[in-house]
Symmetry: C2
Subunit: 209 residues, 2 copies
């Protein structure tokens, strides 16, 4: 276990983005002191927290000198640089570019439509997304499904999203997949490769947390 | 000038994402043989090009072994690794995390609302975004404006988006700013720091291309 006792993470429990960082750190075997804010009470949007992140979003990593790093992937990038092994952003120029490509494909093609469907359709997200536009939410449900079909074809030939090794792109896909239900998008039970990948991911100790 | 004659970029002319890569390469003093597809004819969505990028999007970098890298930032990342100076993704763990944070803040808070307003409101974008949902487009116009106000406050204390050095976050902000007009969002003539930053950016040889 690699400890960073002088850093601090402001997290948001089980929400997808805070979980992205949690899983990433567990894969790296890193621990950082963590404080959980109550996102249901919108603590992250209060005046107190906006001194730390003016955009009012979680998670945030506080460095020892008081520098606050927001955005999940930026926090992951910091720890990738501090603890290079296992490499979760790829190795060498080509591998790093391929991980970045898949990370962004999944964010734009899957995470974003899933989040959009949730935020615009779920009554419990009304405080996060105002106004909710149901038509826009509904357009995004089949887009997420289409992307899963694309992923299923891709995963016919390999074990992980970005190639032969586990990467941050798997984490992003996993937390999005786990959000299908609140987004009211059907689980892809007819897509065998994606199913197999999800089962494999579900058995990693990092995702059981 | 650093030449990569064995690589090839499939680009899309003046569209924002292809331009992101163009400006990045110019800042690095890199040249790569480039073929421009006609995005108005949707050549990037044709069967021929989908063999290169199944998602039908530009730009794409073709490596010598036939590996195709899509997503602008992944292409930029490849060249950052190949030609580290000048560093456009930051230096050292903290600097890299700060650039990643700003890059993502700008993508989510500015580029995305500007692109959404354009795609859902402009008649010329009807072939790109179907269905166009005018209500969603209109919600995004004031969000882009709000983010510009936030940027203006930030730029009171520094020259570049992510700190004291030019980075990819400046490029992302610049191409988004140049897209305000087609997105029917007013130029921020009342925001002096953002104006000053934009004037500085406009005078860089890379952005004149």
């Amino acid at each position: 276990m690699i400890e960073f006792p002088h850093l601090k993470i402001y997290s948001g429990g089980r929400a997808p983005n805070p979980r992205r960082v949690q899983i990433f750190l567990a894969e790296k075997n890193i621990t950082v002191p963590t404080e959980h804010l109550d996102i249901n009470k919108l603590e992250q949007r209060g005046e107190e927290f906006k001194k730390i992140n003016p955009l009012g979003r979680l998670p945030v990593l506080m460095l020892e000198d008081g520098t606050a790093i927001s955005e999940s992937v930026a926090i992951c990038r910091y720890f990738e640089e501090m603890v290079p092994d296992p490499a979760l952003f790829g190795r060498r120029p080509e591998g790093k570019a391929i991980v970045e490509m898949w990370q962004r494909r999944v964010e734009l093609g899957f995470m974003m439509p899933v989040a959009t469907a949730f935020r615009h359709l779920h009554p419990g997200a009304a405080h996060l997304e105002s106004p909710q536009i149901a038509e826009w939410g509904k357009v995004n449900q089949p887009r997420a499904r289409e992307f899963m079909e694309f992923l299923d074809e891709e995963l016919a030939g390999r074990d992980f999203i970005a190639g032969g090794e586990f990467s941050i792109a798997d984490i992003t896909t996993f937390i999005s997949y786990q959000f299908l239900k609140p987004a009211r998008i059907g689980y892809p039970e007819d897509l065998p490769n994606l199913q197999r990948w999800f089962q494999d991911m579900s058995q990693r100790p990092s995702t059981l947390l």
